[in-house]
Each structure stands twice: as structure tokens, then as C-alpha cells.
Symmetry: C2
Subunit: 739 residues, 2 copies
Amino acid sequence: MTRKSKWIYITSLTLFTLFATNAMAQDLKQPTLDDLIPGGETYRRIENKWYQWYGDFACLELGIDQVNGTRVDQKTKKEFPVITLDEANKLLAEKELGKIHSFYRALFLNDLATLKGAKALKEDKYPTLMLVNTSKNRVLIDWKQKTIVWNQPCPEKAENQDWNEISRHLAYTVDNNLYVCTASGDIQQITNEPDGIVCGQSVHRNEFGITKGTFWSPKGDLLAFYRMDESMVAQYPLVDITARIGKVDYIRYPMAGMTSHKVTVGIYNPATQKTVYLKAGDPTDRYFTNISWAPDEKNLYLVELNRDQNHAKLCRYDVATGDLQATLLEETSSKYVEPQHPIVFLPWDSSKFIYQSQKDGFNHLYLYDVNGKFIKQLTSGKWLVQDIVGFNRTEHEVIISSTEVSPLQSNIYGVDLRTGKRHLIGEKNATHSGIQLSASGKYLIDRYASPKDPRTIAVCSTAGRADKDFTLFQAKDPYEGFLMPTFEVGTIKAADGTTDLYYRLTKPANFDPNKKYPVIIYVYGGPHAQMINNGWQNGARGWDIYMANKGYILFTLDNRGSENRGLEFENVTFRHLGIEECKDQVKGVDFLKSLPYIDANRIGVHGWSFGGHMTVALMLRHPEIFKVGVAGGPVIDWKYYEVMYGERYMDTPQTNPEGYKECDLKNLAGNLKGHLLIIHDDHDDTCVPQHSLSFLKACIDARTYPDFFTYPTHKHNVLGRDRVHLHEKITRYFEDYLK
Amino acid sequence: MTRKSKWIYITSLTLFTLFATNAMAQDLKQPTLDDLIPGGETYRRIENKWYQWYGDFACLELGIDQVNGTRVDQKTKKEFPVITLDEANKLLAEKELGKIHSFYRALFLNDLATLKGAKALKEDKYPTLMLVNTSKNRVLIDWKQKTIVWNQPCPEKAENQDWNEISRHLAYTVDNNLYVCTASGDIQQITNEPDGIVCGQSVHRNEFGITKGTFWSPKGDLLAFYRMDESMVAQYPLVDITARIGKVDYIRYPMAGMTSHKVTVGIYNPATQKTVYLKAGDPTDRYFTNISWAPDEKNLYLVELNRDQNHAKLCRYDVATGDLQATLLEETSSKYVEPQHPIVFLPWDSSKFIYQSQKDGFNHLYLYDVNGKFIKQLTSGKWLVQDIVGFNRTEHEVIISSTEVSPLQSNIYGVDLRTGKRHLIGEKNATHSGIQLSASGKYLIDRYASPKDPRTIAVCSTAGRADKDFTLFQAKDPYEGFLMPTFEVGTIKAADGTTDLYYRLTKPANFDPNKKYPVIIYVYGGPHAQMINNGWQNGARGWDIYMANKGYILFTLDNRGSENRGLEFENVTFRHLGIEECKDQVKGVDFLKSLPYIDANRIGVHGWSFGGHMTVALMLRHPEIFKVGVAGGPVIDWKYYEVMYGERYMDTPQTNPEGYKECDLKNLAGNLKGHLLIIHDDHDDTCVPQHSLSFLKACIDARTYPDFFTYPTHKHNVLGRDRVHLHEKITRYFEDYLK
């Protein structure tokens, strides 16, 4: 091809492309915020289906009107009916047990079979039980026999329900106390504590991997539970303006450096109706986390962490007496230790467990015996194990999710416990989540997404034999026929000059490189979160799409301190949260300024929570860069944030006064030059309104001019229908001042 | 003059005028918000001086370093020294009684002499006593003899101090209880009530003319006081975000239709240390107001009003027993009765008193005897008596302030009680306030202002003999040398087609009739206030001036419902506050649109409190007119406002559901089209934040988009230094959206 013809070719191509894009763009619908934002009236949710396992034999699809099975057989994928809503409700009606409206919340029982060694059970011996909840009863239906085999009344006002499949006991809370309803329907009140002492609920503000407050022993004979005395914790007042006359909803909120709550762990035996409390000593300024049961139910393991969060101990307690039997392991750090994963026993060898630790810089698996003897490190490398999904009991493999393929992905691996060898399970070029292992661990239901694939649900052999794998469900592009921007992911160097940081650039569909675009940086920037991934649309949010369609370029950078990059990447922020993070974001701005199509005079920033902090911090530390910011629920002064999260990264105001001062944005209030809208909701019980209100006062004192808005009755995020209003509000602010 | 020469003349004049204006404007300083807003660092307060009477003989000017007298003699105006700060502090130091820093808070005693019949006292017999307060002592100094004649220790934490000049007893409160410190320094605790019962303080939220809670008998032997049980009143939570962790400051706030407080009146005798409570019956849902003492101290008079506020009774009680002796008068109304003025006894005839009533449509004076027998109406006409200033005891005249000259003015009149004839005292073309009568009422110190006169202080003969009058002090124009707009006052017809309404139009200094100006309507519009008067700059506010200088025209209209125009003008708003008021404001807009230099597409509105309500109401009821509004501390829903004020005009939500619904701006939230900024402070204990927050919620529900701001720690108004910030904030909003 001559040079000339090549030139003509390129020109025609360009013209054609432009023409095609325009023509296409004209045919495409502009998505509205209601289309794009969760809670919107026309929100285009990614299609989804709900499955559960029937042993290793079939995947059951839980629908509204029926449950259908699909046999695990790539060739035939044979489908079979399981039960219909009419059938189920007819059975329920016969015994006057109430009614169900769909199967979405049904539970197909596998635990008992698994405990007995599922692989030994033939299908004709395998239990065919399904648990459903009517408003009045918890009912076990044999879906094969079409009979009701058991039922239990649903206690009124029961919250935090935790049902054990083997004992069929139900643990639950009413207000601040804990109850058990036994398999035979007896109600047993376990605690009778006054207001200020909470039993059977999540403690330590859901930090350290804690998500609940009850822990049944494997066979459901004993119930471990948290008891939290927070009567000594100062109460923060949130005002409910929907009452006839405004009233206070108090929350007990331990602020950094202030008196914190005290947690103990009890073990309740429904047979004896006795509770034994673990004799862990003075609970003052200590955290009790990562509870796990010994397979024989004789011991309870947990991690005890000091308030300074730099010394963790894995302890074993005698369940019968509450005595401490042994401290198996200890971990210390000059910064912090963050135990997030309970130990997991090997299903085929109850004398060994897997312990997770970041001690080599990345979260990896370590094998120990019950006496705390180190056996070996199971995984290692400059990537991290995200979670233990389960085990392939046949092959003696642990199934994990990890970042080994890419820090932007979660992939599933089987790890051979004997050899340490790993093999990838499922699609490599995608990010996986919501994995469900079959009874023996031979298969898994895999859910994954990639930039162009919103959701695939597949069955995979955990042996990594792709010839066994098949697709159960493929979601359509929810925005087919809609105008969509393009997403680009790349890396730049962090402010330290060496670390790679990932960014995402969202460009309007009809992007013209000769134009100058305003840019909005959407930022989070805090620990335990990552904004950019190799999932659907690279993790871009509906609002990013909306703004790109309005002619903005959206940019997001996962700075140092964010998730999935290892301990050192994260803890560079220790004792001065926000400082290094802002430096990295400025590197992001430098990169943007290097792009010819970015208008450096029109740079905005938006973020929520830690991202709200980052937004305000960037506006104040770099008023020469940022013209407009919208900060939601921002942390302003870490001394108003809670003890568990706040002190991990910042220590206390008493021990780190310089750090608290440096990071207190009130001290920078006088720097505000651009337009800054702060949104803080009046029922924010995560980051209390005092943050933003005290910042407003600091600005008023300094004679600077932020804007402010609040969503009454909303908590840390504006959710539901009002989330559309929120994003229209944010949009208008940028349209008013950045366009 | 030929036509040509006339043309030339006009042209040259115009050119000259333009040139002159420009030249002048260039020389003039632009006032800043700090210059114009009270609380500003350079706020240009109108110059002032403080005077008190010495009998009928001289006016004493209270300064920082000295007190000087000026003899009441128009010809000589002879000045004489009274006392210096050094002299006073030397006397105080000798007795170790502390120190004073100025004479601003000194009190020159006249009451005792007045009681004895001041006119009979020659100057050489007249007391020459001055009361001063050091931080530790209340001290009487004989300023002529330069001796200390008496002193009393100042009790710690004493608030609401009420000192009687004759008995020299001091009544005061500490927290919620009432005390007396006798002339001899004995501390007597009168009440010992728990939290929720308040004694000796103003009650009924300062409505019905109530401003305090203690009332000494004429000779100071007995103390009448209010006791308010508000323990049954719901508490509204205001959150203090300046505490280490946000805490609640509760206020007991009876909302319309809800349970209200209960008030009783006690009479305490320091000699016997006994309290007698008036036997007024069940205090539930009743108001006790307009307390006045019989001259012989044997009876107490007060007005009792039902909760519906349409039936008032003037009652006389026996002080010794607390028994009701007689109900002297009753007033009823189909709308409301609003007793605001205690009866006043004639100084020369203790069997007669003057009663004020609006029963003929305007507040006028009526003479009665102590048995409630009507003697005669003293004043009448389509104007109103604003207050009784006092009496000319020599001429048997009552001195009043009234609107007889103009509804825009307060003028002083002497009314002959025998003939009813009135004569004007002092300058006619000015509005008068802060009048101080001399001991016998022969003279008064008059303070007045007019559009071009910021403040004059003069001595006037109450006999109306202008040849006796002379000027004590003339304040300079505080904005001399500054660029100022022009103020025009006129009338338009109200929405009823007949009533005249006054408006004020503020035009930029360099006004050009060929330009189109944006206009901002500053509105209050509620009862008991009038925005336009014949005082300094016609009552225009500093911010009006600031905005006019920025090129806006400012417009204010006193709609029906506002003050000084009589009962019918006011109570046309009964049971639907805001409706007629808005109609009148729209007539104001019609007038503005008739002016060729007004840009009808750029009309904004701003107001606070009732004016905040009006601002929001106008934005919602007339989105086609108003593009931008800024509402401060608005009433949104009258059911969130307090009982006393709210129910007077609106009845209760139970008895007037249609009215409450019609006036609840939440119901109109969906109408919002323009830009509306609502400012509501977090410690607003007059109009609680629930108003604005519930409106935001209504707008979010209706998907409309108001803006919001709050001044933490501020109450119903942003006062002090932050008031400048507030007005800069308001200014920016109009500059962003209306310019």
C-alpha cells in the first residue's frame, strides 16, 4: 500500500467511523438517571438468577413460581421440575402453616449430608429437603415426596435469625436480647440484659470481619454468641424530623480516643439451658473476633486483639468451662494487625486448620495443627488470597479466591494441600464472586463478569477440567440500545515514583480528541475498597455513564491505601490518613493534564464517605486544581470517627495528636476557593453529621463558602428511590459550576 | 426659551448630571458587607448618646469617663459636671466595693422623688443618687456629695435581675428558681422547683406583651412573679455539634395543638417571706398577662385569656389572700383578642386607669374606674395608639406614641384627659422612639429619625411649646463619603382593590431608566412588623444597599397582615396565614412589571422567619414569577410552630385542618421550579429546624431541588460576626442565579 492510499484509507475510515458513530448515536436512547441509578423507577438491573445445589447432582434454579433443576452434565444439561408454588402452598395450606410468595428465600439442605460425607451418599439416599418461611412458620418440605416433614413457629419480632440445619434450632434476637427457639418449638430466653447491653448481634461495629453475633456449633448443639456492654459509650443524637415533634434516635458511638464498649463471648446449651462465658479476662479495650468452632464442638477458637490493634492472639477455649486452653499464635506489627478471617478446619482432618495472615505482606494461607504448631505456608506470592471458598473434599484441595491473575480480578483456584500446587478454576479473563460449592466440593456455581460481560453464571468442575464446565445463564447487556461511553483502564506511577496505580477513564460515546473536556474525578481512596476492576464496565458507576453522556470525562484512580494490593500498599497511610492518598490523586491529575483533550481549568471531584474526605481534602489542599467538588458523608476530623476503624489507621488523638491535626480538614477550611457541596444525611450512624456540621462552622469562622445539603431520614448513603434525586442534585452542581 | 435651546439645555443638564454622578460615584467608596451589616468588623453604626433625667432639671449624658449634665434651658443649655469615673472608682475603692468601667449602665434615681410628687421638690431637696454595678456590688453613690450611701452584694449567677429603687430589694433568678436579695443583703429563696418548672422569668414565649417574670409593687414591698410549669411540654432536640461528641440541648416547645405549659402568678412578701398564689383556677390552656399593680399595692390586675385567644378578662385579685375580687372587663372576638398592654393608673387619681383595646378596629385608650365602670374613650380615629409613654402630671395629660401623622411614623402626643384634646410633641416629619419623660413629665428626651436624618436626640416640652425644645445631639450620616442608592416610598392597592399598601423601592446610585434591572423583593409580611417607615433610609437594610450597589433594584411591600394599620388590616389573614399576604406581594410584582426598567424575567425574593415562609410560599405558589429565592428560618408548616403565636392566627390543627393544610408548604413542594436556598440554623429555638428539614424531605419525595444551608450554633437569626458571612452567602446565591 502506498503512503497516499494509506492516508486515504485512514481518512475514509475516520469519516466512516464518525458517521457511523453519529448515526448510531442518533438511534440510541439516552439513559436517564432512573435507568442508571439503583432505586430508579426504570433502573436497568443486570439480569440475575438464583441457584442452589442439590448435593453434587444438580443446580436448582429458584424462581417465583417454581424450582427447576439442571443436572450437572455438560452434554445433556437435563432439566427436571422440583416443585411449584402451587404445590408448596397446597402443602402449607393443608396444615394451616401460612403461605409463600416465591422460592427466592427457600433453602435446600445440604449440610447434614455434607457432614455425613456427601460423596458417600447416592442420590437415592440424599435428603430432598427444602426450608421455606411463611410469615408464621419455618417449614421443611420434602420436595420429592411432596410432604411436610417438620415445622417450627416463627417468633414475633425476631431479628438476626440464625437457623441450624442439623439441630434445627433457631437463634434470634428481640431488641437487645438473645433467644433460641428449639427444633421442637420451645422458646428459651438466653439473656435478659437492660438497654445498653446487646446480645447475639454483630459487635465492634462490623470491623475485623465480624458480620453477625451468633455462631452455631457444627451440629447446632451449642450456640456461641457475642454480648456487648456499651452502656458506658457516649451516645450521639440523630434527630428524627418525621415525628410529630422532632425526637432523638440515640446511637452509642465510641469515638476515637473515647471510652469504648466491652465484648464477651458466651456459649449457650439449649439442652441444659445454661450459658458459659469465656474467661477471657478484662474485656476493656480489647477486640474478640474470628470466632470458629472446633469440629468436635469441644473448643471455640477466636482472635483477641488489643485496642492499639498491633498485637493479635489466636486463642483456644474450653467450651465446657470457659477456660482459656491455649494461645496458639501471636502476631504483632509496628503499624497494625487486622485479623479478618476465622480459622478453617480441614474437613478431612480435624486436627489441622488454615490460618490467614498478611505477615509476609500479602494475605496468604498457613496450615497449623490444633496445638498451634506451624506446618507450612500454603500460598505465597505478590498477590493475595481474598477468601477461602471451601474445599474439594475428594481431592483434598482448598478452593480460594485470589488476585493472582490480576489485582483487578478475583479468580478461583484449587490449592492442593499436599503439594501446594494451584490450578485455575473457571474463566481466566473475568472477575468472580458469589461462588457456591456443591456438597462435596466437586463442582461450583460460578458467577463472573468482565468489562463486556455483565454476568455469567456457570457450573465449573473444581478439578479444573473445563470440559465439565457449562453455562447456566448469560445476562444480556442491560443497556443494549442505549448510548454508552467507553471505558479505558491503565496504570500510572504513584507519588512514590515506583508503585503502579490503576485508573479508569470514561469517555463520552462521541468523544472528539480535538475538543477540550471538563473532567470529574470520582474518588474513594480508602482501605478495603477498589473502584477499578475487570468486571462489568470496569466497575464504572451509573452516574459516571450519565455524566460522560453529558460531555464530561470521568476519571477514577485507586490510590495507595486501597484494596487488593497488599499490606505495604495499604498501610503507607498509617497515622496520616488522606495525605499519601491525595498525593497519588494529584499524580492522576498530572496524567489528565498530559492528555490533550482535558481542560485543566475544569477539573471537578466527587466522592462519598472516605471519598467524601478525599474530595474535601483535595479541594482544600489543591484549590489551584479543583474547581468544583461534591463530598458525601465525609470524614472531616478523625476524632469524630469510631474507635475500631479510626484507631487502626490513626491511633488515638492522645497518642497521635500531630496526625489528627494534619488530617483534620477543619484546619484547612480557610483554603476553600472553588465550589464545594457537602451532603451529609441526618441519620448517618457511620460517619455522624458532626463531621460536616463542624466543618461548616470552621468555614464560616474562616469566611469561606461551602454549600451543604442533607437527606433527612437517610443514613450513611442515600439509598432507594431518593438515590436518583441525590444524583440529579450532584449533577446540577457540576452543571452549574463546571460546565 | 426656544425649543432648540431647551433641548440643548436638557442635554447639557443630562450630560452634566451624568458627569457629576460619575465623578461623584468615582470619589465615593463602595461600602462592603462589613461596613453595612451589624456584626461586621467595620460596621458603621449610627452614632448614639445615652441620657437620663435628673428630676425635671437636667439631662445627664452618661459617658465612659464621666457624666455631664445639661440644664433644660433652650437659651443657655448650661452644662455642668456630675461625676467622673475616677471619682466614682475612688469612692468604690475606699470601701473595697469593686470597680466600674463606664457609666453606660448607671441609673440615676427619680422614682422615689416621683412617688413623692416630683413637681413639689425643689432642686436643693431633690435626691442626687446614682446606682452603679460593679461585678461584686450594687452601690448607691450620692453624686453631689461624692459619698457612698448604700450597697448590696451582687449574688453569683444572678439572672433576670429586677431592682426596686424604693425598697432597694433585688429580685433575680438562678437556673429555674427565684430569689430576693433584700436591701440589707439577705438572700431569700422564694421558689425551690425541680427542672421543668420555671419561676420569675418571662412566660408564654414572650407573647401578649410579656417580656419579664417579676413585677415589684410600686414601693417594692411585694413581688409578683410568674411560675410556669412546662414539665408536660414536649421537648425539641437541638444538637450541639461543638461538644466532643454531639449532644442535645433540649427546649420545651409547645407546638400548635399540643399540650401547653401552665402558668400561675405568685406574690412574695420579703418581710414575711411568704408567697401567696393567685386563686385563678385551673391554669390549663390559659394565658395570664398584662400584670399591673394597684397604686396602694393591695390589688394585682391581670388579663386572663383562653387558649382559643378569643375571650379576654381583666381581673382584679386581692394580694393578701390571692382571691379573685372582680372581673372588670371582658372582650371577645370571632377571630382573636390580643391583650398587649397592662392597665395604667392615673398618677393623680388611683381610682382610675387607662385600658387599651383594639375593639373599635384600632388600638385606643379607654378610661375606667377601679370597679370596671367605663368612663370614656380617650382616643379614637383610623390610626392607633402604639404605647403610653407616661404622664404630664402637672397638666393631667397622658403622653402617647401613635400613628396619627402617618402609618409610617411614630409621633408623640399629649392627650388632655379632661377634654380628650391631643397636641403633637416634637418634630412632625419624623418617627420617634425611646422617649424618656422627666420626673414630673414636664419634659421628654426625644429620639427621632427621618429618611435623611439618622438620629436626633432632643429635649421637648410635653406642653408642646416648641420654643422650649432644643437639640441635644445630632448623629452624622454614617455613610458619608460612601456610594448610596436612592430610596423611594409610595403606595399601591392591595389585592382587595381598596387598601393602600406602602412599598419601598431602592435604586442603584447610578440608576439608568433605559436599562433593565433584576429585582429582589425583600419580604417579611407577618404581624407585628413593618418594613417601611419614615425613619432613616426609610427602614432599608444594609444588604439592600449592598445589592443596589451591585446593580439590583430592591423592593419591599408591607402587605395586609403587617403592623400599624389596624385590626382589620391585620386579621384578614386569620386561619390561613400567608394566603392574602402572597396575593398582595403579587400586586407588588404587577407594579414592578409596570416599571419599564424592571426585568420581569429576573425577579428574586428573600426573607427570614415569617419572611422565610413568604419567600418559600411565593416561590411555590408563583413559580412563573420568581426565579430565585433565599428563605431564612422559614415556617413551613404551622403545626410545627408554637402554641401562642401560631394558634392566635391559625387556631389549632384540630379545629382548622383545612387552613393548616392550605398553608403547609410541604404540600406545594412539587411546584418548585426556580432556585430556592433555605437557611435554617441548628439552634433555632423560635422556629425549629424541623420546618426546613421536613420541607427538604417533601421536595426530595416530590423530586424537586431546593438548596440548603445551616449556621451551626446559631439561633433564629445569624447574629454577630457571622451575619456578614450569611449575607455574602445570600449575595452569592443571587449573583449565581439571578444576575
